[in-house]
Symmetry: C2
Subunit: 298 residues, 2 copies
């Protein structure tokens, strides 16, 4: 039987802590060491990061936009990255923020979460703007295959306030969504844990909001962006987590730039030096987050 | 100098009427004539539709999901379709509903709207859920290259009500968005017409809402889904259009299933027969919409 995504993810965060390594091959930050950015070059770069992350963290989160930038060969690089990471026993949360109606949503869901997915991932980020019904095809694809989804709830950017925080009937929209998402996410609940693999994207830059979302949705794992380069610290990042077995638990915290483009890596003279810098940055963030989950447990 | 997308689109709708042919290679509807659905087969099928549509309609709208379904080879097929259509003098509105923060949004924008775009399109559909700031990279990429965007405002599906219609301060959110989008869209205004290439996706299934959006945003072109298979008629589809030069003008109306999978095409025994059925369905929809733009002009 296929194990639920929530159970698979929690098993790994209990071993490695909540760090998720973001794979965002931003052309403007691409290290000279790997040559001019191209679909092939970013695949080689990502392979080096996956090698450094394997056996150290629970999951990676590739950012689809920076692969699509290179067109179909970029998508081939993304498929390679997802496959390589999964072969290295890392869970893959693809950050593609897809969303559409009915049969179109099913197209996206089958592409990334289906049994015969062309680009198989463990979870996919989804945009809920078109309504609750548009999430169902993603849930339907994820459920039988032990996959998850991560739905935008309260994002980490300033513009999140424009729609997500509008007050409706005395509460912000993101809270209304959280309550509804919680109900929708029941089919993705694990058998071994109480967590649901219907994750919420809840930004580290808004810790109070994360706590409110947690109250409204006690069993949904969080995918927390905004830690590190976007300005939020580890304590803020885990503010929506809850005490379980002497630590805080409740999802994963993504770090992209701070772990994949640290200064020491950008200035590295060899791939060995570069990979050591990546390993150090991953270890630093992992330790920072683990300490926060222990410091704030009471 | 690069001509604005709004001017290029209006020139064509004045010649051909408002029909936009949706290219949605839905695997469940794929005609037997073209063999088993695959990335190659859908490219051949789409080529046949483009050939039938060239010189007959203003634009096509490929649905990214049904190409992504086939992975990187599907994306290669999408690139082929976009290139073939543009070579045939059809404008291409890619329906990919992308959206993300800052540099990530720029990645998507460069991929589809940039000067050296890997998959060059004339316009791209965009999801605004993450806030107004997240639209700016798309505008910035579109503006200098004579491209446009089509931002989800009030979609055609029932679930549109869940977020887009929530009442905020006495008006639904989609109207608030329309007003703000109107301001943001000024850089994409044409030189030859008063229209802006910052289009709004405003569903044909909600004609009253379309009229309200038009009042709030007099110069934004509409991309109207929901006509035909989704249940709305031609009169409803053009309800957000306004009288100009003895006809109604204001955007394009998409038809996918009704023109690309008509019954006569599904049962065709040869590609000639199939293409004749496609041509007939396109002509029928074009005529239906043109009549509505003339019937409702007063």
């Amino acid at each position: 039987m296929t194990r639920a995504f929530a159970d698979r993810l929690i098993e790994k965060t209990r071993e490695f802590g909540p760090l998720c390594v973001g794979i965002d091959p931003h052309p403007g930050l691409f290290p000279e060491l790997f040559g001019k950015p191209s679909a092939g070059a970013i695949a080689v770069w990502a392979d080096g990061i996956i090698e450094a992350a394997a056996g150290q963290v629970a999951c990676i989160k590739p950012q689809a936009a920076f692969f699509e930038l290179w067109g179909s060969v970029g998508m081939a690089a993304l498929e390679h990255v997802c496959k390589t990471a999964r072969d290295a026993d890392l869970l893959v949360i693809l950050d593609a923020k897809r969303g559409d109606i009915g049969s179109t949503a099913k197209g996206y869901a089958d592409a990334y979460l289906g049994e015969t997915a062309a680009c198989p991932c463990d979870a996919l980020t989804v945009n809920p703007f078109m309504g609750y019904e548009t999430l169902q095809p993603f849930i339907d694809a994820a459920d039988p295959n032990g996959r998850g989804i991560a739905v935008l709830t309260r994002t980490s950017n300033p513009g999140a306030a424009d729609i997500q925080e509008l007050d409706f009937g005395g509460e912000p929209i993101f809270l209304r969504l959280a309550r509804e998402f919680n109900k929708l996410g029941k089919p993705l609940k694990g058998d071994e844990t109480d967590w649901s693999g219907f994750m919420f994207v809840a930004g580290a830059t808004a810790p109070d909001e994360a706590r409110k979302i947690r109250s409204a949705a006690p069993d949904n794992l969080f995918l927390v962006p905004g830690y590190g380069a976007q300005g939020a610290g580890a304590d803020q990042a885990v503010s929506g987590f809850i005490p379980i077995k002497g630590t805080l638990e409740g999802g994963v915290v993504n770090a992209s730039r701070s772990v994949t483009f640290p200064e020491a890596a950008q200035n590295a003279g060899s791939t060995e030096e570069w990979q050591t810098a990546i390993r150090d940055a991953i270890a630093f963030a992992q330790d920072d987050l683990r300490k926060a989950t222990r410091r704030n447990v009471d």
